[in-house]
Symmetry: C2
Subunit: 296 residues, 2 copies
């Protein structure tokens, strides 16, 4: 399979669905909807929705059916970026080379746009009930796991830990916990929810959850490696920022070569988890392999 063509096609599918779920309509409170729309469409690889669709496909499900879940994941991801970029948090003016939400609009609007996207993710899931008649318990399970991944047990907790780690040395165990909460939880929720909505059995769901956990950690390690070795033009951001900000990273804690080896092992483990799915898991295998060669 051609991963580039596959990703392009899936990105289009996801973008069309997101546009349908959150049209940039005018209305009394149009400003906040505009801000939500801006951040949702200012770029983004759509990695989480694509993982969700691929997991649904791997268990024999219809990726089209999984679109509400996939789009809910992207809304939660986008909300977290908007809030993380706020002056009181990481204080970033640019993301993907474009003004962050509070720079494009203002701080109050950005806080509300984040709140709006987080809420809309749950609205999208619950409103999909009519499409999942007889499978409401599954939809509630997906809702629960998304909320668990997003809240204080996951992303909110991870961002808190990240802020608390600022300005002090942390060890590998702490670094892993931050990443598991901050990015790993949602990536794992993506494959797990995809497996559930695709109709996977408990063994398949467990395998795709495990794939997601390994993918998530490998994603973070290669992200750290990119910051050391990457090219500004290809990444759309300056490399070396982690060192400049004195952020703990895998290369800084265990060394470059050990980080590369670790990422490679995690990718192999992720691929092994989906071996039994044969051809239907080809996209998941290609996505995992891609982590080791990605340039952005």
């Amino acid at each position: 399979m051609d991963l580039k063509v596959y990703l392009e096609e899936r990105r289009n599918l996801v973008n069309r669905a997101l546009e349908a779920y959150l049209p940039a309509v005018r209305g009394p409170a149009f400003r906040v909807v505009q801000a939500m729309h801006y951040s949702l469409f200012v770029g983004g690889k759509r990695l989480r929705p694509i993982l969700c669709l691929a997991a649904a496909e791997a268990v024999g499900g219809d990726p089209g059916e999984a679109l509400p879940v996939a789009c809910a994941l992207e809304m939660v991801h986008t909300y977290s970026l908007i809030h993380d970029d706020l002056p009181a948090m990481d204080d970033d003016d640019l993301r993907r080379g474009q003004p962050t939400c509070h720079k494009k609009f203002d701080e109050a609007t950005a806080i509300l746009a984040g709140d709006g996207l987080l809420t809309e993710a749950f609205h999208l899931l619950a409103a999909a009930a009519s499409r999942f008649e007889g499978r409401e318990a599954m939809l509630l399970e997906v809702t629960e796991l998304l909320a668990k991944a997003a809240g204080y047990r996951g992303m909110v907790g991870g961002q808190m830990l990240d802020l608390m780690a600022e300005g002090r040395k942390i060890n590998l165990k702490e670094l892993e916990l931050i990443h598991r909460c901050k990015t790993g939880a949602l990536l794992t929720a993506a494959t797990r929810s995809g497996a559930l909505v695709g109709g996977g059995n408990r063994i398949q769901v467990a395998a795709l959850t495990s794939y997601g956990e390994r993918f998530g950690l490998a994603f973070q390690i290669t992200d750290d490696l990119l910051d050391v070795e990457g090219d500004a033009a290809e990444m759309g951001k300056a490399p070396g920022m982690d060192e400049q900000r004195q952020k703990a990273t895998y290369p800084a804690l265990v060394g470059l070569e050990a980080s590369r080896q670790w990422a490679k092992r995690l990718v192999e483990e992720a691929m092994a988890e989906v071996e039994s799915f044969q051809d239907r898991a080809a996209p998941l295998r290609e996505l995992a392999k891609y982590l080791l060669v990605r340039r952005s």
Copy 2:
């Protein structure tokens, strides 16, 4: 019935449930859980959960069964207060005479605590699935209506409109829209969700929704009246703040006497909506009447 005793008993019921759902446990990200806990327990009349339980009771449901829904409403309410108080929004240092979340902790923690409570509300609903076996579709309907009331169609939109109205004159139609979104939506969601979880039929659900809409508007009008006529000690905040901030209010737009008459008519209409429920709606009738004599 003695409303004071009833309210006290229900507040205790809700507080015990909230404490069980969000224990102030220590853990890696304990700081954000602490902040969530602080704001959730710093005071509050628990009006939304009490309305939800009373609506469940009115249709013959078990109020205890409705507790997860009632507590989810209070979490959404508390999140909205935390974010509205932020420096970028209304910039309030005190609420109910106590430091606001960003004053007690810091701005980043307050943003995350709000995000955490909003997310936890949906977690609570979804995780209640096992208690509602065979009624999953109802639970999803409640989730959808809570998300609709909280998001850009409701509270988020209302706060955006409120911020956009700052410093300019607005008319009565705009004022009503702001309040319907900002406070009315969640109060209406409280009675509607209570009716659904209590097992009400469509006619009962419609009547309790209509009750909630009238209650919500009467609540806002009497809130505005209190700001003109109220006593600082009884309210726990200084009166006259609306005028000082040049905020549009009902008394300012239609006059004191017309506001009083309007609130009275709305309370009568709300009571008429629940007349057919007879004794089981006694608490809802007392709650509506109380709006006209409340001092805080």
